[in-house]
């Protein structure tokens, strides 16, 4: 007579699995860390004199050691920065108190590109950069249409005191990015029918779109040297 194999009792399996499950539930966090990115300026060789800036080319934000904000020389709240940033990027072409906006026309860009490509073909390597620049401009126009280009000198500058709180600095940075992202988002919705933050950087087509939007509204934040007031 063959011995009957006894069945293994599996009812405690659930308990073991529960134990593991609870362990993982407790020790892990689900949320991803949220961050604000910034790129530090390159180290400058000693003795180099920084270029002079015209007041109209910068949006000046100053935070003092009591965390009060001075926006374009006027006392302001942190929340006012966003609107000013929008104005900094989008203003009438004739405005004299803001950096120059230059309309970029497709015909001009194509003509320039042809010209510079001709130079490169003749062996003038120095024009390769110009070719790149105009190729990028043409790509941008193809994606978002003709646009106004912000002058190279246009910058948002942040001047802090050494004793300014970190919180204040981040809030200022946040406001600038909010204003900037809002503009990019509006353009993205208008041209591509998709919100800016839904564009996926890993997708090649979307990456080109992001690049175009960033070309129209570039992030130009400059930190001035901290001051010390006692």
């Amino acid at each position: 007579m063959a011995r009957e194999v006894e069945e293994i009792n599996a009812s405690s399996m659930a308990d073991i699995a529960f134990l593991l499950l609870i362990f993982f539930l407790v020790t892990t966090t689900l949320h991803k860390e949220k961050v604000i990115e910034e790129r530090l300026p390159q180290r400058v060789p000693e003795g180099q004199i920084p270029p002079k800036v015209l007041p109209k080319n910068v949006l000046e934000i100053i935070a003092n050691r009591k965390d009060q904000i001075l926006l374009e020389k006027e006392p302001a709240e942190i929340e006012d920065i966003k609107e000013k940033v929008r104005e900094f990027y989008v203003h009438p072409l004739t405005a004299t108190n803001w950096p120059k906006l230059t309309p970029v026309r497709k015909a001009d860009v194509e003509a320039k590109l042809k010209l510079y490509k001709g130079y490169v073909a003749q062996g003038e390597q120095a024009y390769e950069d110009s070719v790149n620049i105009y190729e990028n401009k043409l790509n941008t126009i193809n994606l978002v249409g003709e646009y106004n280009e912000l002058a190279k000198e246009g910058m948002v500058t942040i001047q802090l005191d050494n004793s300014t709180k970190f919180e204040t600095y981040l809030k200022v940075l946040d406001q600038i990015m909010l204003g900037l992202n809002e503009l990019r988002d509006e353009l993205s919705r208008e041209k591509f029918n998709i919100p800016y933050n839904k564009l996926n950087e890993k997708n090649e087509e979307d990456r080109a779109k992001i690049k175009a939007l960033r070309a129209v509204y570039p992030k130009r934040i400059m930190k001035a040297k901290n001051v010390n007031t006692n």
């Binding site: 499950l21 020790t27 892990t28 689900l30 991803k32 860390e33 949220k34 004793s163 300014t164 970190f166």
Partner: protein, 154 residues
Amino acid sequence: MSKFSKNKKRTDPAISTASLPDIVFMLLFFFMVTSVSKEKESNLKIEKTTASAVTKLDKTKTIFTYFIGRPKNKKYGENYRVQLDDAIVPNMSAIGVYLKEKKEEYKDVWNSEVYNNFKVDNKAEIRMVKGVQDELRQQDALKVIYSVNEGSEK
């Protein structure tokens, strides 16, 4: 005489629990796969700032973490200190020394894949952050991220 006699007592069959472990295991695997293990512990008290224009941190990159805050343990004093990865640094130049070593190790991706994550207490003075960043700039480590809480506070 009804056709459907009620004499016979109906007993509910016991619900089989044999599939319970499977269900639980499924949940278990879900949590194991989707969860991220806890962030690096800090010896400093840090209350993060709230901001809204945020991006998600890509954990696949190499990240150096700098904590700036008041020590939890009194033996380190009351003043704001800097903690790099898991130790409180004695002075700013120690950061430079550390980065110099790391720069050799990661020299191909130093300014593309390496991020410097700042977790700073919101009441810390900017001079502390600036001090650390000056060391970073000396070593050409320029990619900086600030860890924040997401939200739209007023």
